[in-house]
Amino acid sequence: MKQFTKIFRFEFLNIVKSKAFIFLTLILFIGTTAALFYPRFTGGKKSPSVSVDEPERVAVFDQSGDLGEYIKENMTSYEITLCKTEGEAAELLKAENVDASVVITSPLTYVYSVNDMGLYDETANIISELLQVKYRETRLKELGLTDSQITEIQSAVAVPEYKIVGQDQSQSFFYTYILLFMLYISVIAYGQMIAQSVATEKSSRAMELLITSAKPDSLIFGKVLGTGFAGLSQMLIILLWAVACYRINAPYWEDSLIIASIFDMPVSLIFYAAVFFVLGFLIYAFLYGALGSLASKMEDIGTLTTPLTFLMILAFMVPIFSITSGKVDTAIMKILSFVPFCSPMAMFARIAMSTVKPLHIAISIIILIASNIIIGYVAVLIYRMGILMYGKPPKITQILKQLKK
C-alpha cells in the first residue's frame, strides 16, 4: 500500500507536470472561458445564432394577380423581386441574381425553385403560411365575416402545456452528449497514455529496476489510478470553471436554451456521471496498462491497443446515434446498458434521456464494479507476465494460454 501511494503520486505528478497536459489544460481553460464570456462582449446579441443557410433574395411571379405584392409586403427580411413573366424569374435564378424563385400558379399552389436546397431552408414554409392566411381571409370574407372576426379566427393558436413525467430530451440531450464525449476522449487519450507509459518503462528498461523495487500490482494500479486521477482532475477543474464562467455570465445566456439546459443538469445525474465515468474509465485503463506491458517497442502499442480502441468507439457510437435519433430505449441500448465495456455510456445515456428503473441502474453498476475487479485482476496477471517479456508481442491465444497457468 505504501508503495502504491508512492507510485500513484509519482505517476500523477508525471502527467500533471508534462507539457502536453499543461498545454491541453490551458487550451481547454481558454476555450471554456472564451466560449462562456462571448455574449458579454458581443453585447446585444446574447446567444450565438445558428447560421442558417437560407435564400435571401427571392424572385416572385404571380399569374393570378396581387399575391406577389402581398408576399413582398409580408416578407420584409427578404429581398423580393417581382417578375412579370415566369421566364424572367427563371432567368434571374439561373443567373444567380436571386437565391430562389416562386411561381404562384393558383391561390394555394406554387413552384419553389432553388439551385441548392439548404438544410434549414424555411422560405417555402413561410410562403405557404402566407398563402394559406391570404386564402382563408379571402374565403372568409366571401362568407360575409367582418375583418375583426377574421383576425380573431386567424390568430387563434392552441397552446400546449407540457407535463414531462420522465426526461425532457430537448433539455438533456446536450449535456448527455458532452459527457459521453468527454468520457470517450478521456479513455482514448489517457488510455493510450497509460499504454505508452508502461511500454516506455519497458523499452527504457527502467522496468528492470521497478520490478526489483516494487510489486507489479502496485506498479500497474499506481500507474492506472495515478494517470486516471490526473485526467479526472483535469476534467473536474474545467467543468467547475465552466460552471463558474456560466454563473458569472448567466444574464447574458438567458436567451440560449441550449447553454442553459447544459448547466441545468440534475444533481442525481452528476452523481451517475461521476460513477459511470470513473468505472468506465478504469475498466479500459486497466486493459490499456496491461496491453502496454506486452509491447517491447513503442511501435507495438498501436497494434496491441487497436482492438480495445475499436471496442471503445463502438461503445461510444451506439449511444451517440441513439441519443441523436432520440430513441435511447432501443433493444440494443437496453442490452448494452448491462454489458461491462458499453454500459458506462449506454446506461448513462438512458438515465439521462429516458426513465430507467432504479433496480436496473443498480444491477448495471454492480456488474460494472464486478467487471472492474475481474479486469483489474486479469490486467495484473497480464502485466506481471508482460513486463518480463521482450521480443515480439504475443498473440491473444498465447496470452490466454499463459494466463491459465
Binding site: 508512492k6 527504457s204 528498461r205 527502467a206 528492470e208
Partner: protein, 303 residues
C-alpha cells in the same frame, strides 16, 4: 550475514532455465557469479530479488527467507535502465522511496555519491542528456541509494573508460570494506579477480564450481613452470637438447619458456637444470591457471 542459495530450480513453460543452483555469499565479501550468456544469471538474480519464485529450492539469509522490509537489495542491472526523460534526482529519490527509504537520507546518500563520482552538476538535469559513462554512474547510484545490505552488480564496468572504471572500483571496494555483501557478475575476469575472493560458475543452469578463487587455482596440477629470460630461444633449445626424462613438453608461450613436467615432484630437478644451463634467468614460477582458463574449462562445449 550469510546468503545461502540452495538447489534452485526454475522453468519457464517447457524451458528449464535453472537446474540446481547452490552457493553461498558472506557480508563484507564479494562473490563473483560467472556464466556464459544465457546461463541463467539474470533469472537467478531475479529469484534472489523475489521478482518471481523458484520452482523449488530456497534462498535464505542467515537461515531465514529474505524479508524485503528488513533487508534491502541494491541492483545494477546488466540492461541499464532508468527514466530517460526524468530529472536525475527526482527518479533516484523515487526508486529510494519505493524501497522504503525516506527522502532525506536518500538525498544524503545520493549527494555523497554524486560528489564521489564527480557528477554533482548533473543532479537536476534529464538523464538522456548525459553521456553513456555518466548514465552508468547514475545507474550505480540508483543501485546504492537505498543503502542496501546486499548489492548486486551485473557487468558494472562495461562501457566505462579507465578513469571512470577507477572511480567505480573505489566504490566497490568501499562497499566491501563497509561490510556489504556484493554479488558481482561480469565477463571481465580481471575485475572478478580484483574484487572477489569467491566465485560460482553457472553452466547449463547448474552451479558447476563454487569456492575461493585461490583454492580453486591451487586445486589445479602445479606441474607447469614458467621461466622468464631474455633469451627464450636459447633456453628452449637447452631444455629440448637435454631431453630431460621428467619433461613432457616445452614451448614458448607469451614470451616465456613454459615447461610441462610429468609430475609435480620433478620441480626441483627442473629448477636445478635451469639454474645450471640457462643463462640470465629473470624468474621461475609455477604457472597457475587464469580465471579465464578455469571459466573456459568449466563452461566450454555447453550452455
Amino acid at each position: 550475514m550469510n546468503l545461502t542459495v540452495n538447489q534452485i530450480y526454475k522453468s519457464f513453460g517447457e524451458k528449464n532455465v535453472l537446474k540446481g543452483i547452490s552457493f553461498s555469499a558472506q557480508s563484507g565479501k564479494a562473490l563473483g557469479i560467472l556464466g556464459r550468456n544465457g546461463a541463467g544469471k539474470t533469472t537467478l538474480i531475479r529469484i534472489i530479488m523475489q521478482v518471481f519464485g523458484a520452482n523449488s529450492g530456497t534462498v535464505t539469509l542467515d537461515g531465514e527467507a529474505i524479508d524485503p522490509e528488513k533487508v534491502r537489495i541494491g541492483y545494477l542491472p546488466e540492461e541499464r535502465g532508468l527514466y530517460p526523460k526524468q530529472k536525475i534526482m527526482t527518479q533516484l529519490l523515487y526508486f529510494a522511496e519505493l524501497k522504503g527509504v525516506d527522502k532525506k537520507s536518500a538525498r544524503n546518500t545520493a549527494d555523497k555519491y554524486f560528489k564521489e563520482l564527480e557528477i554533482e552538476q548533473y543532479k537536476n538535469v534529464r538523464l538522456d542528456t548525459l553521456s553513456k559513462g555518466n548514465q552508468q554512474k547514475i545507474q550505480l547510484i540508483a543501485a546504492l541509494i537505498a543503502n542496501p545490505d546486499i548489492v548486486i552488480l551485473d557487468e558494472p564496468f562495461s562501457g566505462l573508460d579507465p578513469v571512470n572504471a577507477g572511480m567505480l572500483k573505489n566504490i566497490v571496494k568501499e562497499l566491501i570494506a563497509d561490510g556489504k555483501m556484493v554479488l558481482f557478475s561480469s565477463h571481465q575476469m580481471n575485475y572478478i579477480e580484483e574484487f572477489c575472493d569467491d566465485i560460482v560458475i553457472l553452466n547449463g543452469g547448474k552451479s558447476v564450481l563454487e569456492g575461493s578463487i585461490k583454492k580453486i587455482k591451487r586445486s589445479y596440477a602445479r606441474n607447469i613452470l614458467e621461466i622468464s629470460t631474455q633469451e627464450t630461444e636459447n633456453a628452449l633449445n637447452a631444455v629440448l637438447n637435454a631431453s630431460l626424462p621428467f619433461v613432457s613438453k616445452a614451448e614458448v608461450i607469451d614470451g616465456k619458456l613454459t615447461v610441462i613436467l610429468k609430475d609435480e615432484e620433478s620441480k626441483p630437478q627442473l629448477i636445478k637444470f635451469a639454474a645450471e644451463n640457462i643463462p640470465d634467468i629473470d624468474g621461475i614460477a609455477v604457472k597457475e591457471p587464469t580465471l579465464a582458463d578455469i571459466f573456459i574449462h568449466y563452461t566450454e562445449g555447453s550452455v
